[in-house]
């Protein structure tokens, strides 16, 4: 012990290719920078400045994806693993990061008007959004289970806080609490799964695990399968797949609406990012074992999501159940294994627009106090606010899967994926649930279009919800995205097809 110091050899730290990490780093640095600026500037910046800043950061992150994508598709480039094998640099991660950046930008635009309306301070909300999205990006690009887990925690912890952010609504804080407890519960399962996988394979690095599994045939694979099962449980919680969905309605309902939009888009995308990369890609060799489990998750989510939503009268809650239903659809893609990843990616991209738009409308209609979410509150919206009603109609119909919207092609994509693996049962269940869910989307449409406003129409117009500029922009973008992905989907499906998840060992 005497000569310890002398015995210390200099450590060869792994090389860091900063440029390849740019999308995540932009989000991280953007968040921390905002925090710093806010703490230094004595006078209040305009609240809009925060949202604008966040949008800019998200766009920069998005823009930084472009050259990386080019580099990736270049013949000399190609997927690689960075920072000592901890980060997977592939099209899949870039695609998801871009999707999440869009989600952040839209949610930030929504949040601006919301914070003004509710009289909340809020640079922290944007900070957390950016950091959370950075966590999502880390998850999407994780090449190591531990990195995945930490990314997940960054994502989730920010989300817990954001859900509990509305200091004047107890329901918001209760949502945060519920989300936190169940989220942490899920994390524990995930972590135990990671531990078991580590024990079974000797590493937490996905590339090493994959190599190990391809080299060795395990005689006793109980531990490995247990690990995968626990991973499924943990990530199932995150993506709100039944039967691990119980938190979703309460949390979605209680959380501030823009945050709900964020959770439904970014958090869900990140959860699926992890699910696909770990379960689908890494444990591809064990697909015969995990597929039935994912099948059950998907089928349950589809049915529970759609059936439970029918009886809801609270629109936010209904949308929460619908998000469970959508999780089921995406799980159909997951269940198809590697062939389904493109469909999953396309679905996530499409869903981002649809769901952010939907919750954007919910944000606006919710009114001060964020409490007007009953179906009756939407009565006659088409009279009082025709454009909002029209936008909401587009989002709802898109979620129902009406053609020429993003939702239809997203559903078609996962059904195709299921078809490719000849899993017709799941496809049929999915479509059946689509019909069921169409019912409750239509209920909202009925409220908006076919019912007369609850009170005097003139008064309603007076007191009708204000649409702040940010939300307006967000809704327009979301409508364009929803319809654009439905009418001109070619480029995006192409991107999704190119965004192949690849697990690369550290050497490359």
């Amino acid at each position: 012990m005497v000569g310890l110091l002398a015995a210390v050899k200099p450590i060869a730290t792994p090389e860091v290719v900063w440029s390849a990490l740019a999308p995540q780093l932009v989000m991280m640095v953007g968040g921390v920078l905002l925090l710093t600026i806010v703490s230094l500037v004595k006078g209040r910046l305009g609240r809009g400045a925060y949202a604008g800043y966040t949008v800019v950061v998200a766009l920069v992150s998005l823009a930084s994806v472009v050259p990386l994508w080019r580099r990736l598709q270049d013949s000399k480039g190609g997927p690689a693993s960075l920072v000592g094998g901890a980060v997977g640099f592939d099209g899949y991660s870039l695609f998801l990061i871009a999707t999440m950046a869009v989600g952040v930008a839209l949610a930030a635009l929504l949040a601006d008007g919301y914070l003004r309306r509710e009289g909340l301070e809020g640079p922290e909300l944007y900070v957390l959004m950016m950091l959370s999205a950075a966590g999502g990006g880390i998850m999407a690009s994780a090449n190591d289970l531990i990195v995945l887990f930490i990314g997940l925690e960054i994502l989730s912890i920010s989300a817990y806080v954001m859900a509990a952010m509305h200091a004047n609504r107890v329901s918001s804080q209760e949502a945060g609490l519920k989300y936190f407890i169940l989220g942490a519960f899920a994390s524990a399962f995930l972590l135990y799964g990671i531990a078991l996988l580590y024990g079974a394979t000797g590493s937490t690095n996905l590339a090493k695990i994959q190599a190990f599994l391809s080299d060795v045939v395990l005689v006793h694979n109980g531990m490995l399968l247990g690990g995968v099962a626990l991973l499924l449980v943990g990530l199932g919680f995150k993506v709100a797949a039944a039967p691990f969905h119980t938190w979703t309605p309460d949390v979605y309902q209680g959380a501030p609406s823009p945050v709900t939009a964020f959770m439904a888009s970014v958090v869900k995308a990140a959860g699926f990012a992890g699910l696909v990369r770990v379960v689908v890609v890494t444990f591809d060799t064990y697909r015969l074992q995990w597929k039935p489990a994912v099948f059950a998750l998907a089928a349950l989510s589809l049915l529970v999501g759609s059936l439970s939503a029918i009886v809801q009268t609270n629109v936010k809650r209904m949308l929460a159940y619908s998000s469970i239903n959508h999780a089921g659809f995406i799980l159909v893609g997951v269940q198809s294994g590697r062939v389904g990843t493109a469909a999953v990616l396309f679905y996530l991209a499409a869903y981002t627009f649809m769901v952010v738009g939907s919750f954007g409308v919910v944000t606006i209609v919710g009114g001060t106090g964020d409490g007007r979410h009953h179906l009756d509150d939407y009565k006659g919206l088409a009279r009082t606010r025709p454009l909002i009603a029209a936008a909401f109609g587009v989002f709802l119909l898109a979620q129902a899967g009406v053609p020429f919207t993003a939702g239809f092609l997203a559903k078609l994509g996962v059904i195709q994926a299921a078809g490719q693996t000849h899993n017709w049962t799941l496809a049929v269940i999915a479509m059946a649930s689509a019909v069921i869910s169409a019912f409750f989307y239509l209920r909202i449409v009925v409220s908006m279009y076919f019912d007369d406003p609850a009170g005097d129409p003139e008064v309603e117009v007076e007191g009708s919800p204000l649409v702040p500029l940010g939300a307006r922009i967000a809704l327009v973008i979301a409508v364009i995205g929803t319809l654009g992905l439905g009418i001109v989907p070619g480029p995006f499906t192409h991107l999704a097809d190119d965004a192949v998840p690849v697990i690369t060992a550290a050497g490359r």
Binding site: M1, V2, L4, L5, V8, P10, T36, S39, L40, V41, K42
Partner: protein
Amino acid sequence: MILALDPLLSGDVGWWPEVTIVVIKVVLAFVVLLLAVMAMVWFERKVHADMTNRIGPNLAGPFGIFQTLADGVKFFFKEDLMPNRADPLVFRLAPYLSLVPAFITFTVIPLGGRFDGKNAGEITLPGFQKVTLLQVADPHIGILLVLAMSSVAVYGILLAGWSSGSKYPLLGSVRATAQMISYEAAIGLAVLAVLLRTGSLSTNAIVDHQAGWNWNLWTTLFVPFVVFLIAITAEMNRPPFDLVEAEQELVGGFHTEYSSIRFALFFLSEFMNVVTMSAIIVTLFFGGPSGPSFGPAWLRAILPTAWFLGKLLVFLFLFVSFRATLPRLRYDQLMDLGWKLLIPLALGWFLLLVALRVAADSDWNPFATGAALIAGLAGGGLLLRKAVRTSHARRAAEAEAGVTL
């Protein structure tokens, strides 16, 4: 395996001698510590009295030296009270939780042995012809053990306050918890600076590394020591950071409801903490038992211990003079000091040391590096200051606007 904490045990000593030696060392250490604590109580009272124009204990024994003993006897025979609302189990448990960590910390402190760069504190046992250390154990994570125990020490106070089922103790213990947790960070950061120099967590190795006047005090450029000293004072809830028991506000704080031997245990643990923490300071920054060695063999054998005790005494005196001199801080001042001064300072200094180390390794110009670093640190400090001021200004504005609740 787990007993490989002492060179003695790594040899082929055998099963029973092993246990015997360990037990003997533990008992010895305990006795020494208790004696030291008794002396410390007397020392504190006497010195404090002298500093405030008083006499101090002077009746029990010469110069009142047996005062502690007398007090102990008195405590022992006093009636033991427990409030009705107390949580009996925890109420009884708390004093021990407070005492044990203080003692465990002491076990990793090298009390003697020669540290001259050649033999790292090993002494040869007279009868055995075996080599051992003059410390109960030398785990290679020694300093972590110290930190662990200092963080566990919170429990005694916390639970004592809570379990009393009374207001003042609860307030005192809540204060204590916040205070101790806050200052632990500063302690850790200050210790990191030492570890950076030493490259080992073992207390023995740390002392050994300081042999030959190579004290961490100056190799870490003083600042960590200052931070550590202040933080450790707060960690022990010593004045001027004794808000935990602020008599004027809290009627004694967490131990208000304690009496008799249980109170004595708290009393004991507090002074034990003073002794052990002084010893830690000596170990970390002042080379522990190392020092000039001269004279005949017997003198050489006891000199290190003497050096150690001498250094220890300096710090004991320092702590007493703190108490005699400094007025108690207000609670927000306490927190501000910890969070806004000590922690940033310790962190910044640590970064500075790291950077200097890197610069030395990579053969950069040390002056340029140092200048750049100091500029960077100053910039960071200014930013922090600005942020703090901004926040104060905002709070003031909010208060003016009447935003309450």
